[in-house]
Symmetry: C2
Subunit: 142 residues, 2 copies
Amino acid sequence: MTVSAHSHEIEEGLTFLPNFDAAGLVTCVATDVATGDVLMVAHMNSEALRKTIATGEAWYFSRSRNALWRKGETSGQTQRVLEIRTDCDQDAVWLRVEQIGAACHTGRRSCFYRKVEAEGGGAKLVFVDAERLFDPSDVYRK
Amino acid sequence: MTVSAHSHEIEEGLTFLPNFDAAGLVTCVATDVATGDVLMVAHMNSEALRKTIATGEAWYFSRSRNALWRKGETSGQTQRVLEIRTDCDQDAVWLRVEQIGAACHTGRRSCFYRKVEAEGGGAKLVFVDAERLFDPSDVYRK
């Protein structure tokens, strides 16, 4: 198969051919099916993808812990996956999820609880939707 | 500063300290402000971030072309950025954009025009929202 034929199959085909990076991962965006808000950006290896597709619950691969991880396995804040999509070059997936509680380990609904605003020639952050739904020190052992 | 104090500043501070990866990039998710749909997942280097914040138009860094890129500079399909957010560990940004036309180089509104569905023990793709808004062969020179 030529490069061009391969590229056409990736972009226009109906075979799922996830394009894992050198570390064996694809990027994954989870959005809240109710609001459309981005809850988190994380990664999946082939096993996390397989388990997510098979179970309808979100599994990820933690780069910092180098481990497969069922979302909510410690916190109870699971994600029920209503739809999975992949993008044109199949190196990213989008999950539309029902989030139980908070997606973020800081206790917020979404990991994206700060806006970036221009200030002078640079930028500053401003809290938005930053209310905590749980106290992380109650949920995660130190 | 200890690792823990640094981590606290990254997660709870109001200083924008983007955590670029080894290639100097952060992951960027662009969503359609009207629908909440994920339009694309791409990357930004510090210059792309700076220009996006300063101009209110989306700039990215193309890994395949190794070049800074103003979204729509060839296709005319620009993105007006209404809000920028960063996540807890500041290695990803979320842009809420007004997309002119199609975000995807294939001519679709979103790069995520295929669903992943379980089939047997594996998965298949199914087109969804896959109408082309332009013909890429008209827009991009071969």
